[in-house]
Amino acid sequence: MRAIFRTLVITAFTMMHITANAQETIKIEPSENIQEILLEALILAEEGSTIELAEGFYELSDGLSLDVNNVKIIGAGHDKTILSFKNQQSGSEGLLITSDNVWLEGFAVEDTPGDAIKSKGVDTITFKNLRVEWTNGPDENNGAYGLYPIDNRNVLIDGVIAKGASDAGIYVGQSQNIIVRNSKAEYNVAGIEIENSYYADVYDNVAIHNTGGILVFDMPNLPQKGGHSVRVFNNHVVDNNTDNFAPEGNIVGTVPRGTGILVMANTHVEVFNNTIVNHDSVSILISAFPKEYNDPTYNPIPKGIYLHDNVMERSGANPDLDIKRLVEPATGLPIPQIVWDGAVDGVWAALFGPDDAEGIFINEKPGTTFVNMNAVLDMILPWGASPDMDITEHSDVYFPTLKPVKLPQDSQ
C-alpha cells in the first residue's frame, strides 16, 4: 500500500494553474521507508499545502527539513504522532525549517542527537501543541535545544512541552516579536530562554524541574545583540532544582541549580505576576554577563529591569555555584529572594546609582528580601563595598510601558 496519497481540496481543476498557493493536503502515515517518503513530501510540497502526519511512531534515520513557504505540518497530537530520531545518523537537528509562514502542530520530536526543531531565518512561524523530548531524562549527552527558533521574526510558541534538553527546552534567539505561552518546560537545564531578542512576551507557562526556570539573556559577539523589551508574567516557576547538566563552555552551564528567573545583560525586562516557588538558590537573579569577552560594541550590564507583584516562596536554602560562592558568604542563609549582582555602567553609576531609565526597580510585597552585591562599587572603592539589602531604594519606578506583542498568525 502506498503510504502517501494526495487529496486535492480545490475542486476546480483550472484553479490549480491560476493560483500558486494550491491548497493541497498530503497525507503521510508510518511505513518502511518513511524517511524518504516524508522528506520527499517536505521537499516537493507546494506553497499553501498541508502535510498531515497520521497517528503512529515514525522512525527516522536522518534529519528532516522544510524550505517551502506557507506550509503546515499537522499531526494527530503530541502523544499520538511521534517522530523518533533515536537512530538518526546525520543532521544536527531533527527538523529544520528555513521557509516563511510555517505552522507546526500536534506532533512530537523525540531523542535527536542534536537539536529537536530548529527554525533559522524564518518570518512567521508557529509551534503549537508540540512535544520535544529526550525520553531518557536529563543527561548531558542529550541534544542542546528542544525548540530552537533563531534569527526569526514573529514566533508563536503555544502549548508546547519540552523535556530533557541539555541547554534550553524552549529557546528563542536573535529574533524579534515573540510569544511563548501555555507551554511546559521540565527537566531541561534552562526551561525557557529568550536570548539576544527584541519584543518577547512569555506568559502562562509552567517551568518545573529545570536547573533554571526562565532565562532572559544577552550575549556578545553575535549578529543581533542588545536584547530588550521582554515581559515575563503569569508563569508558574516551581522546583527548578535539577543539577546543572549542561556541557561546560555553554553559558547556561553557569546557571546555579535552583534559579527561578534569571535576567542577564538585557535592557527593559518586566517580570510580574509570576509564582516562583521552592528554589535552592534564588527566586529572581539579575546579573551582568559573567564571562570574559572581546566585543567593544557589547554592553554586559542589565538595565531597566522591573520586578513587581510576583509571589515568591521558599528559596535560597541550599545555593549552588556563584550564589553559593559569592552571595552566601555575604548574606548567609537563606539567600535573599531577589539577588542583583550590582554591576553597573561606570564609576558614576556605581557611586550614585544608574540613570533613571537604567535602574533596577522592585515593587514586591512587604517582607520580600533582596541584596545588591555591589559588584562594581566593591571593585572601585579602595576599601571595598559591602552588599546592600535595602529594597526600598528600588521602589521609585522609571520604566517604560512595554506594549503586548502582537503576531500576524495569532488570532487570540
Binding site: L39, D62, D67, Q89, T98, G249
Partner: protein, 383 residues
Amino acid sequence: MLRQIPLNSVLKTSLMVLAMAGTITTANTTESGKTTPQPTVSANSPMLEQITAVPNMDVILARRPARKLSDYGLFADLTNHVVVDEIVPYDLITPLFTDYAHKYRFAYVPNGQAAQYTADEAFEFPVGSVLIKTFAYPADFRKPDQNIRRIETRLLLRQEKGWAAWSYKWNEDQTDADLKIAGDAFEVNWVDEMGDTQKVRYAIPNRNQCKGCHVIGKEFSPIGPKARNLNMDYSYSTGPQNQLTHWTNAGILDGLPDLNQVDRVADAFDPSQPLDKRARAYLDINCAHCHRLEGPASTTGLFLLWTETNPVRWGLNKNPVAAGRGSGGLKKDVIAGHPEQSILYYRMNSKDPGVMMPELGRAMIHKEGVALVEQWITSLKND
C-alpha cells in the same frame, strides 16, 4: 538521420579525455596509468549520436528537474564521463572534504556569454550556466586512475530565478545517473593509500541540504568558483595554463583584472606554504559557506572566511553560543596553543551528528584536515 560531424570535433573530444587525466577513462588506461588516445569513432558508430550531444537549454531552464543526467545533454559520452566540447573542466586550489571522494568539476557557460568576475564571491554566471561536479571513488587509491566508481553528479543550474541544485546517482553500469530528490545513503568501500580497506555510509544530499550550504542571505549561491580558489594552473589539452586566464581566453569570464591583483588561497596540503594560510584556506572552503555573516551559521558569530581579519570572529578566545554538547566541555572556540582545549578542533574531530562540524557532507573524520588545524592552533599566539 545521423548528422555528419567534422573530424576535428571528434579529436577535440578525445583530447578532452586526455586533459582530464585522472578522470574516468578506465577503458583507455594502460598499466602504467597513462591514458591513450580514444579510438577514432567511425561515422556509423553508435557513439556518434552521443558525441553530437549539445546542452539542452529547455531542460536546463525547466522548473522541474530532469529524471536522468543524460537528459541535459552535458555529456558527449556518459559511460566514459566525457563532457561536450564547450564545457570546461576545473579544479580548486583547496577543495572541500567529502569523505575522501574524488571530484571532477566542469563549468558550462552558454555560447557567447560570460560569467562576470567578482573579487571575493562566486562569479556571476549568466542564465543557462551549469556547474557540474561528479563524486567518485577509485577501487584502490594507490591506483587513482583505475576502476573508478562514480557515485553521484551534482548539478547547479543557473535559471531565471536563481540557482537550482539537484543530485543524480549513478547506476551500477555507470551508463547514466538518476535524480535523487530526497537524497540517499549507502555503503561505499575502497582501499586507501596505505592499503587499508575503508568504508563509509555515503550520503547524497537532498535538495534542502544542498541549500544548507549553498545559500548567502536568502539566495542560492555556488561556493567553489571564486577567483581565489581558481587562481592556479590547470593541465589543459593545450598545456598548463592559469584557469582564470583560460576562462577569459575561452570567452566565458569577463572582467578579470591583472592576475597579480587577484587573491589566491593557499593549498592546504602543500607544506611549503605558510601554515596560517593553509589552515585559513581549509576553513574557508570547508566552513565559511555557513560560517559567515550572510550564511546559515550567522547566528554563531563564528566567521571563517579567508577574508576575515578579526581574530575573535574566527574563534580566538571566543565563547561558544549554542554549541550544546558540541562544546565537548570546552570553554572557547579556539585557544592559542591548545587544540585539545579548542571547540573548533573538537567538533572537526567528531563523527557524532550532534557534535560534528561540518554538519553535512561527511560521515568520516578528515584526518589530514584535523591534523592541519591541530598544528595551526598549536602555532597560534595571543597577541
